[in-house]
């Protein structure tokens, strides 16, 4: 319980710390303190030295944060978990509409995985902010949502989301995402933009609407699925 509280405290009161100290969760749960690249004074720590993927996980639910964190650690990722879109932007250095001028080369975020429905800033709004940023737009963003709503999924993919996971998140979902990411990175960072959707067959969720988009209705679209399948076939046939 200590680590998330500390993270919240320091992200809320960055002015209380001399220099800018960022909190990073190490794989075994111990907390390590790192300074921004420009203020290194003997720590010599650099996340970019390691091969590990650094994921920024965003979810307002404490339960879900704990689960996603564990799923990512099992998949050998470094995880920073925050509870809101605002904090995610702060972590990236994108808050107050200031572009992060001095890149955090010591703490590069390789992937953002965010819940869609959050109070304040939604995952969709966070996605847009990231994609609008010249510094961070290349970071893949994955959206998670308990609502299997086609229009929502499409909206996110159109805005540049890499993938969309229907909650509850399983280990296979996370593994698939990380595998895809690693493949993209190995292939010279060329973004293929393969938009795979995992649609859960939760019939009871089809008719429910979300608090953050009360006018959304679910539409089962076999045509949409067919289009997606043939796109994937096209991409895979180019992969020799």
């Amino acid at each position: 319980m200590g680590e998330p509280c500390l993270l919240h405290f320091f992200l809320s009161f960055p002015e209380k710390i001399p220099g800018i100290i960022l909190l990073e969760m190490a794989v075994n749960g111990a907390v390590t303190w790192l300074r921004r690249a420009g203020e290194m004074d003997g720590y010599g720590l650099s996340a970019s030295d390691t091969e590990e993927v650094h994921v920024l996980a965003v979810d307002d639910s404490h339960v879900d944060r704990k689960v996603i964190e564990r799923l990512l650690k099992i998949t050998s990722c470094k995880v920073t978990a925050v509870d809101s879109g605002r904090r995610a932007l702060q972590f990236l250095g994108l808050d107050d509409e200031k572009e992060a001028s001095n890149g955090l080369d010591g703490l590069k975020v390789d992937l953002i995985i965010t819940d869609y429905c959050m109070p304040g800033m939604t995952g969709y709004e966070l996605l847009k902010k990231v994609k609008e940023s010249s510094v961070f737009r290349e970071i893949p963003v994955v959206i998670m949502s308990s609502e299997n709503v086609i229009t929502r999924i499409d909206r996110c993919l159109e805005e540049g989301a890499e993938d969309f996971i229907v909650k509850p998140v399983k280990l296979s979902d996370v593994k698939r995402i990380i595998d895809c990411m690693m493949t993209d990175l190995r292939e010279g960072g060329e973004r293929r933009g393969i938009n795979k959707r995992k649609l859960r067959d939760d019939s009871e969720d089809r008719s429910s609407t979300a608090p953050c988009s009360p006018t959304t209705t679910t539409v089962d679209s076999p045509t949409r699925r067919l289009k997606m399948t043939s796109f994937e076939e096209h991409v895979f046939s180019n992969k020799n």
Partner: protein, 149 residues
């Protein structure tokens, strides 16, 4: 009761929870994420769930006592409760939340009040059952055995 009996009792108990729909496959997922380096993962997640749930149920009770009912707010709380219940595999609670949200959408106060009672009841059952299960696990560990998967 000896170790083998305890272990059998646990397996039977767990099986019954799935059979009776209290837990679904998501709970199994959580168990699979536990290992010797993270032996308390499931208990930790479920404890968070209990904390969250109690807070949400409190908020819901208060919200439904107001003169003017804020259905949007109630729906937001139920949505959260549904989400966390789904994340730990508390299937019955999750399903009730879906019904609850329908009443919110219909702005049906009676329906909401009834659902709140049902959801509280269902939640307290699954809480008791999970706590009993964890207790059995502790007994097994204290007897020097390992918890069957």
């Amino acid at each position: 009761m000896d170790l083998v009996q305890l272990q059998r009792q646990l397996v039977d108990y767990r099986t019954s929870l799935y059979h009776e729909g209290f837990l679904d496959e998501q709970f199994t997922q959580l168990q699979e994420l536990q290992d010797e380096n993270n032996p308390d993962f499931v208990v930790e997640v479920v404890s968070l769930y209990f904390e969250d749930s109690e807070r949400l149920l409190n908020e819901l009770s208060k919200a439904l006592e107001q003169q003017i009912i804020d259905f949007k707010r109630i729906d937001a709380h139920v949505h959260q409760f549904k989400g966390s219940s789904s994340s730990i595999g508390a299937q019955r609670v999750q399903r009730l939340c879906i019904v609850f949200r329908n009443y919110c959408e219909a702005q049906n106060v009676e329906g909401c009040l009834k659902c709140l009672q049902q959801v509280k009841h269902e939640y307290s059952i699954v809480k008791t059952k999970l706590e009993s299960m964890f207790q059995l696990e502790r007994q097994i560990l204290n007897a020097g055995g390992s918890v069957p998967v």
